[in-house]
Symmetry: C2
Subunit: 354 residues, 2 copies
């Protein structure tokens, strides 16, 4: 993410935050305090925390699409809350799985309360995500509730499949570019696809063509965001933050890595392989690795891939004949979300070295 978020993503932020908070507000059990901590609302002690709400991408996309397609975004608040909680349930479990001690600059849930509570808090948030949708009941038909739940559950299962593939890729060195991108479309993209499809559903736009177009948009955007994050692992804007340092040290597979293995010279490939055989990657090896990736052209390949994926995402909207204004809003959001910190989308799109 580079620059300021477009208004389409931020305009309904306060309403979203209020809807999310309302779902735990009347639940005094400390289980919900851990959820509130993860969401950034309270400290570990339960004391209120005054910090600006982060950009909640999934929820914001639901509301933006609903509005852009002629719906009343307030009708989509239960959907936005559901997908946002579903996403955060995954983050809580991811932090355990990846051993991340931090999340957004604070101790992760498992780090603060141990893995047993964290697994359960994630599971509880998963249940809450669905109960959010029952909040729409009075104003909507059961058909609408069950359609929305189905979109949510299918996306959830697809995310788990992507997660499975991701974990499996960690055990292998020979991860191809296409395989990596396909995994990212599922693991990161399925839930974004779900978000935009839910927004359209509430706006009464659930034709096959629109669903498919938005689904494709979400998947490609997910892969683009993933590659942007990969890019920042090797070429951060300023200091490499803890999360990215962690991904580097843990030798998470990334697009630049897959590219160097597929397209680098035999020497490049040997060096990359050797570094990845080290138990953990120390700072010196990290620098050596980045230099090899630079030499192999993996940096510019990454930024070009991001631009290609974003363009494909936007083309899918055009193919589905979405209104021009909606396409423009989604395109602006996609460019913002998929541009690595400090880079310029237009330059990436021209294939320039950045």
């Amino acid at each position: 993410m580079s620059g300021s978020p477009p208004a389409g993503l931020t305009a309904r932020q306060d309403d979203l935050e209020a809807a999310l908070k309302a779902l735990v507000a009347d639940r005094p059990l400390a289980l919900y305090r851990m959820m509130g901590y993860h969401m950034g609302w309270v400290e570990t002690t339960g004391e209120e925390r005054s910090a600006p709400a982060p950009l909640r991408v999934h929820g914001a996309l639901v509301l933006m699409v609903c509005d852009a397609l002629g719906g009343d975004y307030r009708d989509a608040l239960p959907h936005a809350s559901a997908v946002e909680y579903l996403y955060n349930h995954i983050l809580i479990h991811d932090d355990i799985r990846d051993g991340n001690s931090e999340r957004a600059g604070r101790g992760s849930v498992w780090w603060s309360w141990g893995p047993a509570q964290a697994i359960n808090t994630g599971d509880g948030m998963h249940a809450l995500a669905r109960l959010a949708l029952f909040g729409m009941r009075s104003s909507a038909s059961s058909d609408a509730v069950s359609d929305a739940l189905r979109v949510l559950d299918e996306a959830n299962l697809e995310t788990c499949e992507g997660q499975y593939r991701d974990i499996t890729l960690q055990e292998r060195l020979d991860v191809g570019i296409d395989e990596y991108l396909a995994m990212s479309e599922g693991q990161t993209g399925a839930l974004l696809a779900c978000a935009v499809r839910l927004g359209a559903l509430v706006a009464g736009q659930s034709s096959e063509a629109i669903s498919a177009g938005l689904g494709e948009f979400g998947r490609k955007l997910g892969a683009a965001i993933r590659v942007a994050d990969d890019y920042s692992v090797f070429w951060p804007d300023g200091e490499r933050d803890e999360a990215r340092q962690g991904r580097l040290v843990a030798k998470k597979k990334t697009l630049p890595f897959a590219h160097a293995l597929e397209s680098g010279s035999p020497t490049d490939r040997r060096v990359v392989g050797e570094i990845y055989m080290e138990r953990v990657i120390d700072p010196a090896s990290a620098e050596r690795l980045t230099a090899v990736l630079d030499a192999a052209g993996s940096k510019v390949f990454s930024t070009s891939t991001i631009a290609r994926l974003v363009n494909e995402a936007i083309s899918a909207l055009e193919a589905a004949n979405l209104p021009v204004a909606a396409i423009e809003e989604l395109a602006a959001a996609a460019r913002f979300l998929a541009t690595p910190d400090g880079l310029d989308y237009a330059a990436m799109n021209r294939g320039e070295e950045v």
Copy 2:
């Protein structure tokens, strides 16, 4: 569980097993192989395993209640599958949380594939549980789908709340009997309550009175099953199996323990406290602990409590005016499920030393 299960629990076992298998049958990703392994259908290699299906209590209760209340149990197969998968998702996560290396005599999922895959496999099974319910769509209204999903999601959240309380109790010594039973009603009972309520829902019996009566039945039965399991931790029928050995060593809170602390002599209480301050409980301490519990009358208190809870469960059905035949079937199932291995329900019910 003592003796042979009543026919009401086993009569539809093959249909249930087939419905459960059908949900993963066309999914080739190895994620589903891990699920199939947990369910007992395949080996870690994916090779088919020929072992008799275990009694799937939650699913069996759904089908039994549907049938007993005049429904066609085949209409309830999606519900039975949903609640059974939901239950098994919890087991997969529990094994990580409790560090159980075994489940039903085989390596647990996290033991076989590591915690990262196990957390994700549990999450995937959670999603699958809900998708099971969409299988009923063609023959049922959307109202029915969303009613069922709501019962499932609320029970799920209540289970997580119980889980939270259970984890928290582990950190304390002064766990009271009532507090322990209330936690068990949620953690173990919420999903059993959900099972019997779903069975009734499919049979078209969703009046407030019947829902409440069945809910109470499930909660009390859950607490009774929990106490039966606690009993077997200290007074196993034959050798103490690995799971119970694990619960003992990990100093899991149990009803006999809570009873000895609340009702034992000052000396009993001091000894119990001292043993629980040990880092892990070795076999000698375990014997000393059991002797103290015996002396404090915690053994007969446990069996009497089981009988009391089962009687309360059955009374709730009577108060809801369920048909006599249905009450009899549910009562037989409850007595079977809540009787510790090797004991006789009638003797427990008479308050005899067993």
